[in-house]
């Protein structure tokens, strides 16, 4: 591209404000890395292999919150998949006119909703509901499976958090799947109907075409639920005890930080350990976001000719 002198001036005048984005990113990563250095040097791999939180004695382990974060995110992604996929199919394939408008507006409304509202609703209504109608029946029928082996006492648990976060990311996942599904060229659909496929059969074929994009949506959803704080802090039950049972209270990294960071300056290394815990989460979620969006870009260039 040819740049005249005026254009160059224009370009340079835009630089200082625009590069503030770069400055913010570098400062952020440097801060987290520097702050977590202390604890990484002192505790090393013990941080990842034990789950003790004893600031008075200066012993820390992050295994329970890290596993809690991963499990709640897996549950969340699973919930979101089961509910978003039908929702996207119905919006594209079956709904028309005003009904379609209303349903997609509801999805949009859900998408921008402040998470604190979900958190309040989940803690007061969803958790008791899940306890009575999902956790207790599952516990009573499948006691012998370790995942369901403990009796849900309050309902606040890893399981409840996973489902609550799952509900809150439905619109996010749905939007990505919808966009992908709608960008599949019409020719494929015409080809399906041309060989006499029913709607179900053509949807099956379309979904198999969109599979990489759906997987990408799940990866992006996973990255987002890893960092979710308010819903997790309110529903997870805050316990450092590592259990194989989904109905026991647990911790996620963000819930741990939300409840411990305010007092962390009182104890040596507590702050640094918390920075280390968020460092892991930031690294995973940035990596996954890039991976997820690169899948979509590659898929789009292949399918949309």
């Amino acid at each position: 591209m040819i740049m005249t002198r005026k254009d160059k001036l224009f370009f340079i005048s835009l630089l200082p404000l625009s590069s503030s984005l770069l400055a913010i990113l570098i400062l952020s990563i440097a801060t987290i890395a520097l702050k977590s250095l202390d604890s990484l040097q002192i505790f090393g791999f013990n941080l990842l292999t034990s789950s003790i939180w004893n600031p008075e004695k200066g012993i820390y382990g992050l295994l329970a919150p890290l596993i809690g974060s991963v499990i709640t995110s897996i549950l969340a992604v699973f919930t979101a998949l089961v509910l978003s996929l039908p929702l996207s199919i119905i919006i594209v394939e079956y709904l028309r006119g005003i009904v379609k408008n209303i349903v997609s507006s509801i999805v949009e409304l859900m998408g921008g909703m402040p998470t604190i509202i979900y958190a309040v609703w989940a803690s007061q209504y969803l958790v008791p509901f899940l306890k009575e109608f999902l956790m207790e029946p599952l516990h009573n029928t499948f006691k012998y499976i370790p995942l369901f082996s403990c009796r849900p006492i309050t309902g606040f648990s890893i399981f409840a958090t996973g489902l609550s976060i799952g509900i809150s990311i439905i619109p996010y996942v749905t939007t990505i799947i919808l966009e992908a599904y709608q960008s599949i060229p019409l020719a494929y659909r015409e080809a399906c109907y041309g060989i006499g496929a029913t709607r179900y059969e053509s949807i099956k074929i379309m979904l198999s075409l969109a599979r990489p994009a759906i997987i990408a949506a799940l990866i992006l959803g996973f990255a987002r639920s890893l960092g979710e704080t308010t819903i997790a802090a309110v529903t997870v039950g805050n316990s450092m005890y590592l259990s194989s049972c989904l109905f026991a209270p647990g911790y996620t990294v963000s819930a741990l930080i939300a409840s411990q960071f305010a007092n962390a300056y009182l104890y040596p290394y507590a702050e640094s350990v918390l920075y280390a815990s968020i460092l892991f989460v930031v690294l995973i979620s940035v990596a996954l976001s890039f991976y997820g969006s690169s899948i979509i870009i590659r898929w789009r260039s292949k399918i949309v000719v």
Binding site: K6, F10, F11, L14, L15, L17, S18, S19, S20, L21, L22, I24, L25, L27, S28, T31, I32, K35, V82, L83, S84, L85, P86, L87, Y94, V103, I106, V107, L109, M110, G112, M113, P114, T115, I116, I117, A119, V120, W121, Y125, L126, T198, R199, Y200, I203, A223, G227, E228, T229, T230, A233, S254, A258, F261, A262, L274, I278, S285, V286, S289
Partner: protein
């Protein structure tokens, strides 16, 4: 006689409809429940809910959430103005010079900033602003909110600017406009409604953010404060603290505050819908 293929078709539709209803049931239940609980609190507390101070755990009166409302307004205004300025400039740069390596870098940076969890931003701002300033402040809260909203606003604005058809730009150049005046006098006026939507959506995002304020704003709700350098409170913070507390009176206040936040969000949502509708006409 029904064939298996036709039965499968019907079965499929039934399952899909059922699961879709299950997917949107939570939001409908949520809106209804929050409205009912919130309106009950509004009626009980009267107008003092917007002007009074929060109750102590053992008091009988519900009181109000004035410090949180003022705090939210103050921090939203500060951070919105910074965010919009920075995001618009960044978006103009990357749409005007899309092939430039700096633009490519800004795109990637915005993407990585957007994927940093909000609680991490709160911890970063705690170290970079709160500790040097020796105290929590509305300003620190605004900085945290800006970091969170910036990549979001940037992505939206660059999408809006890119969606302006190329013919307008070509027309501007053909009458010998410089790049700068083409942007200011042609591109932005054409995209103004999209930009308005972007501003509103960024505002909704900033207003409802909780985690970013946890260790920055200070959760100070004993008096109404208008100063940006003093500790402040925000509506989401108040909800977060009160819903986790064991006191019934605080739960009630939290419900009222949640309803207020939902109301504000829905108002913004409808404003956006109205503007978008006009764009189509």
């Amino acid at each position: 006689m029904y064939s298996w293929r036709k039965i499968r078709e019907k079965l499929f539709i039934c399952i899909i409809i059922l699961l879709s209803l299950l997917a949107i049931a939570p939001i409908i239940h949520l809106v209804i429940v929050v409205s009912i609980n919130g309106i009950a609190i509004f009626v009980k507390a009267g107008t003092s809910f917007f002007t009074g101070l929060p109750p102590t755990p053992l008091s009988e009166e519900i009181g109000g959430i004035a410090p949180s409302i003022i705090g939210t307004l103050l921090m939203t205004m500060i951070s919105l103005s910074i965010t919009i300025t920075l995001a618009v400039f960044a978006a103009i740069l990357t749409t005007e010079f899309p092939k430039n390596s700096i633009s490519v870098a800004i795109d990637a940076i915005a993407k990585s900033l957007a994927s940093i969890p909000t609680i991490a931003v709160s911890m970063i701002v705690y170290t970079l602003v709160v500790v040097p300033m020796k105290g929590f402040s509305a300003l620190a809260g605004s900085v945290a909110l800006t970091i969170i909203a910036l990549p979001y606003a940037y992505t939206y604005f660059s999408m809006v600017l890119r969606s302006v058809p190329a013919i307008y730009r070509e027309a501007a150049f053909s009458v010998a406009m410089s790049r700068w005046s083409a942007v200011i006098r042609v591109l932005i006026p054409i995209a103004r409604k999209g930009i308005a939507v972007g501003v509103l959506m960024t505002m909704a995002r900033i207003m409802g953010e909780t985690a970013a304020l946890l260790f920055t704003a200070g959760r100070f709700r004993n008096k109404v404060s208008f100063s940006p350098t003093e500790p402040a409170d925000a509506i989401p913070l108040l909800i977060f603290d009160y819903i986790l507390s064991p006191y019934d009176i605080w739960h009630q206040v939290a419900w009222g505050a949640t309803a207020l936040l939902l109301l504000a969000y829905i108002a913004i949502f409808f404003a956006v819908k109205l503007i978008v509708k006009e764009v189509k006409l």
